[in-house]
């Protein structure tokens, strides 16, 4: 009864002023579908919160200044060494602030996990088709967030002004300077003159702690609001359609679960920060443009750019006294451009090719979209080759392979591996589709062998379960409008004529390459058996042999 009082007291007081009873009730009853991959985006969100908390702590002591000073602090190995205030204050946080090292390491690990979680989340969205209408806007916001996270990470690890991060900054400056026409100016404006100058750290600092986090908050807010408004997608399953959401309510279930998940994420980065040292800047020493350590590696998310720079052949043009440094700006901009632009355009390209303008709320299993899965994995393998090449010196050292050989292999592999990956992944998807169809048509093997009167041995099968069937078949969808995908019609529909139309028709055929359903096994058949007053199926596919599982 005390609960009632509290509700009437505080809740009533608030409702008198904010009119929240109805809205908050709807919020409480918001349905969240369950699937482990839905947690990937939550990891990214919680990493962001952890980054804000730990970053604020670090900012209480960090001095974003390149003013030079002579160090006389706790770390005696660097006593008397000239360094910037930024580096000295990072040493102070590490060795003189209790918990400072822990917060620094949590901040760094959380940043790595943040980018990794965004990537994994986006791969999940891509491979399950969750970016499809109506979620294209959130997909685009996600791409911007990923790009910002790379930039934010780069700025962040450059701030301590240690030798390793200085090398990263030097590379960034070299890349900037290589951009045709505007590069030199961009570099001079960003650095306030020649490299390194005395302004880059305060400038990166304000971008790192204010501008980019502000953009993050606005975009994450929009991302969550849109997700909330459009409701979550769900994985195929019994009773899950494009017109409903099946899951547990926000209050108390999802609140408790997601709260627990926040603690797990925090625990994970804390454990990493406790037991796995990261970015020990006191070992690297202060930045010095003359010094560098061999085998130095950037944070993992920069590795693909590093590899891209490493594998590029030495191409350069000098035309009318102007230098096109293809060897630098192509590897720095093109791979990232291909991946990000490709990802941004794909939902719209897919819609144009397939003519599918329907809303989709039930995710697809990757195998049921072989071309998309193939393309996505081709991109992953492209990224993977670049990333491995970024560690070519480490690989050469570990596996005792000549360094140049690895680079030469990578130069071929960066083209060959994605193509092979596409072909193989697509074949695997089609094979898995056949397996699913076999299961639907012939049932699950029981391992029971029976001898027929004729002497023939057969294996008993039993029908697939309701859950498995729902998972394999996916939700029922209204048919596409006539002409939207008339690739194999005798007379091409208007949209499929002419050069562009024929290209579209061909692409449509590629994108829709699936195992034919043989007139059974499309899974809609079960709808014919309405009972318990359920609505008849929108599309009946007649005979329902499938699923009964007998020979």
């Amino acid at each position: 009864m005390s609960m009632n009082k509290a509700l009437e007291g505080t809740g009533g007081w608030l409702d008198d002023r904010l009119h929240g009873a109805r809205g908050v009730r709807v919020f409480f009853r918001k349905i969240f579908p369950d699937h482990w991959t839905f947690l990937l985006g939550e990891i990214a969100l919680y990493c962001f919160i952890i980054l804000l908390l730990t970053g604020t702590f670090l900012a209480l002591w960090f001095k974003p200044s390149m003013t030079e000073m002579v160090y006389h602090g706790s770390y005696i190995k660097l006593d008397g060494v000239r360094m910037s205030e930024a580096y000295a204050s990072t040493l102070h946080i590490t060795f003189d602030v209790r918990g400072g090292l822990l917060m620094r390491q949590i901040h760094h690990w959380a940043a790595d996990l943040f980018v990794a979680a965004i990537m994994a989340h986006m791969l999940r969205i891509f491979f399950t088709g969750a970016y499809r209408k109506p979620r294209e806007i959130n997909w685009l916001i996600g791409i911007v967030l990923l790009t910002l996270s790379l930039l934010e990470g780069l700025f962040g690890y450059s701030l301590p002004d240690d030798l390793l991060s200085g090398a990263g900054l030097r590379i960034t400056q070299g890349v900037l300077q290589s951009i045709p026409i505007v590069g030199t100016y961009l570099s001079f404006f960003l650095f306030g003159g020649q490299y390194p100058g005395h302004l880059i750290i305060p400038r990166m600092y304000i971008l790192h702690v204010l501008l980019i986090p502000g953009l993050f908050m606005a975009l994450i807010g929009a991302h969550l609001f849109i997700m909330f408004h459009q409701k979550h997608t769900q994985m195929p399953g019994v009773g899950r359609t494009d017109k409903n959401v099946v899951g547990t309510p926000m209050y108390p279930y999802f609140m408790a679960k997601t709260g627990a998940f926040f603690f797990f994420t925090f625990a994970a980065v804390t454990l990493a920060a406790t037991f796995a040292q990261i970015n020990p800047i006191w070992i690297y020493g202060p930045y010095n443009p003359l010094a560098i350590s061999a085998g130095s590696q950037p944070d993992f998310y920069m590795g693909f750019l590093e590899g891209s720079l490493r594998m590029m052949p030495s191409w350069q043009w000098v035309v009318f006294g102007h230098t096109f440094a293809f060897n630098v700006f192509i590897p720095a901009l093109v791979p990232l451009g291909i991946v990000m632009t490709g990802a941004a355009l794909w939902p719209f390209l897919e819609q144009w090719i397939t003519g599918d303008k329907r809303e989709h709320h039930v995710n697809q299993r990757p195998r049921n979209a072989p071309t998309r899965t193939g393309l996505g994995l081709a991109m992953v393998s492209f990224y993977g080759v670049l990333w491995l090449e970024g560690a070519n010196d480490v690989l050469a050292d570990h596996f005792d392979v000549p360094l140049y050989t690895i680079t030469e292999i990578a130069r071929v592999a960066v083209f060959a591996v994605p193509i092979l990956t596409y072909i193989i992944a697509k074949r695997i998807c089609l094979g898995l589709q056949r397996k699913d169809q076999h299961l639907l048509q012939h049932g699950v093997e029981t391992g029971i062998i029976r001898q027929l009167p004729s002497g023939e041995f057969i294996e008993e099968t039993r029908p697939v379960s309701e859950e498995l069937r729902a998972k394999l078949v996916g939700p029922e969808r209204p048919a596409l409008p006539v002409g939207a995908s008339g690739a194999d019609a005798d007379v091409p529909p208007p949209g499929m004529r002419g050069g562009v139309g024929r290209a579209k028709a061909w692409l449509n055929k590629v994108v829709n390459e699936n195992v034919p359903e043989d007139g059974h096994g499309n899974g809609y058949g079960a709808n014919g058996h309405g009972d318990e007053g359920q609505a008849p199926a929108a599309i009946g596919s007649g005979d329902t042999e499938d699923g009964s599982g007998h020979h």
Partner: protein, 390 residues
């Protein structure tokens, strides 16, 4: 138990023991749920206008036949599915929270017990603080998960979606409202207002970009020159001592040198850092020209087989700091551009396009190595305004 109130749960259907008839019933059950208006099955519909309606839906004749009273007035059951297991789960959850509490207290204690100020002390403090903090979070997380899974009744609710596209009437009304507003504002009717407004905003929008002009000076020809000039001594970096050719007893390693007077000037050193290497006679391929020639080192710019090259990689500017004595290769560790020190530091592998520029060198009256002049071409990474290298 909760099936009656929570509605349909796929997990409740255990297919293995079913007869085919049951299976087909289950299948059709699953297939026809797209139409909410007719969905009189055991589905709980969230977000319907009146809770009373939902309740009647729930308690309707289709019910679920679990033998419980139909007039259940709640959407969520209040009791756990398994009251006996819940009792045990409650104790486990409480234990988890107690562990989290003690871990939190231990964290606070560790903060005061463990000092810092040395590497070892800091690492011990880190270990103590981190492990107690992680344990506190794990206790909270595990406790909450067990709470949800074992204590909160298992439910799965269904919420209906509605097409995101607004009703035609709403769209039409919006269009009208928008047009009315546009008309009332006179924005379309009075082009002179519209055009002058646009004309007014353009400079205001450009102004902030102009404000950024003072971010940095214009490049000018700053990238074409370094601080090296005629007679400037080469100092051994670190020791900061001038170098005599005779100091090299034998051919061998690579030494980093800096211009005298600029030892601590990073802006100068970022371009002016130089490496010198002493070769045995006959190792270097020389040209007798007084300018760089591809694949050759300018002999007049060397002193007693000592050669000076820029240390700044021509790729993206890392220090080309690795030298292999047996092959005379200079390697930049960042992206592995490799230069042949015996042949004018020409590129033999990697992404760099240009050799490391050679610093013209001679000896002064006291016999110390000095620059003969600045580099004869820009050092470091390529840039747009840079001309052909040789």
């Amino acid at each position: 138990m909760s099936d009656s109130t929570a509605g349909h749960r796929p997990g409740d259907h255990e297919p293995s023991g079913h007869e085919p008839d049951d299976l087909m019933a289950g299948l059709s059950h699953s297939g026809g749920q797209d139409d909410d208006a007719h969905d009189a099955g055991p589905h709980r519909v969230i977000g319907t206008p009146s809770p009373a309606t939902s309740r009647s839906l729930l308690g309707g004749p289709e019910g679920n036949g679990a033998g419980q009273p139909p007039a259940v007035q709640r959407e969520l059951p209040s009791e756990p599915d398994d009251p006996v297991g819940a009792k045990r789960a409650e104790r486990i959850v409480a234990a988890c929270f107690l562990i989290a509490m003690f871990a939190g207290l231990a964290f606070i204690a560790a903060y005061f017990i463990f000092g810092v100020h040395t590497v070892t002390a800091t690492q011990h403090s880190n270990l103590a603080l981190g492990s107690t903090m992680a344990l506190a979070f794990i206790g909270l997380g595990v406790g909450a998960v067990i709470w949800v899974r074992r204590l909160m009744p298992n439910v799965e609710l269904t919420e209906q979606r509605h097409p995101l596209r607004s009703e035609a009437a709403d769209r039409a009304a919006f269009k009208q409202t928008f047009e009315e507003g546009a008309d009332a504002s006179q924005f379309i009717k009075r082009p002179i207002l519209r055009r002058t407004l646009i004309a007014a905003t353009v400079p205001v929008a450009v102004a902030p970009i102009i404000l950024l002009r003072d971010l940095g000076p214009l490049p000018g020809t700053k990238l074409d020159h370094t601080v090296w000039r005629k007679g400037l001594r080469l100092l051994n970096y670190g020791a900061n001592t001038p170098i005599r050719p005779a100091d090299f007893s034998s051919p061998g390693g690579m030494i980093t040198v800096v211009p005298d007077g600029y030892q601590d000037n990073f802006d100068a050193l970022a371009k002016a850092a130089v490496i010198i290497i002493k070769f045995a006679p006959g190792q270097v391929v020389y040209t007798t020209n007084n300018h760089p020639v591809p694949g050759k080192t300018v002999q007049n710019w060397t002193v007693d087989n000592i050669v000076a090259y820029s240390k700044i990689c021509t790729h993206v500017g890392c220090p080309a700091a690795l030298y292999e004595q047996t092959t005379h290769h200079i390697l930049c560790p960042c992206h592995q551009s490799t230069f042949d020190a015996t042949r004018g530091a020409q590129v033999i592998f990697g992404p760099a396009t240009r050799p490391l520029p050679q610093l013209p060198m001679t000896v002064d009256a006291q016999g110390y190595l000095v620059a003969r002049s600045d580099f004869t071409e820009p050092v470091g990474p390529s840039f747009w305004e840079r001309g052909p290298s040789i």
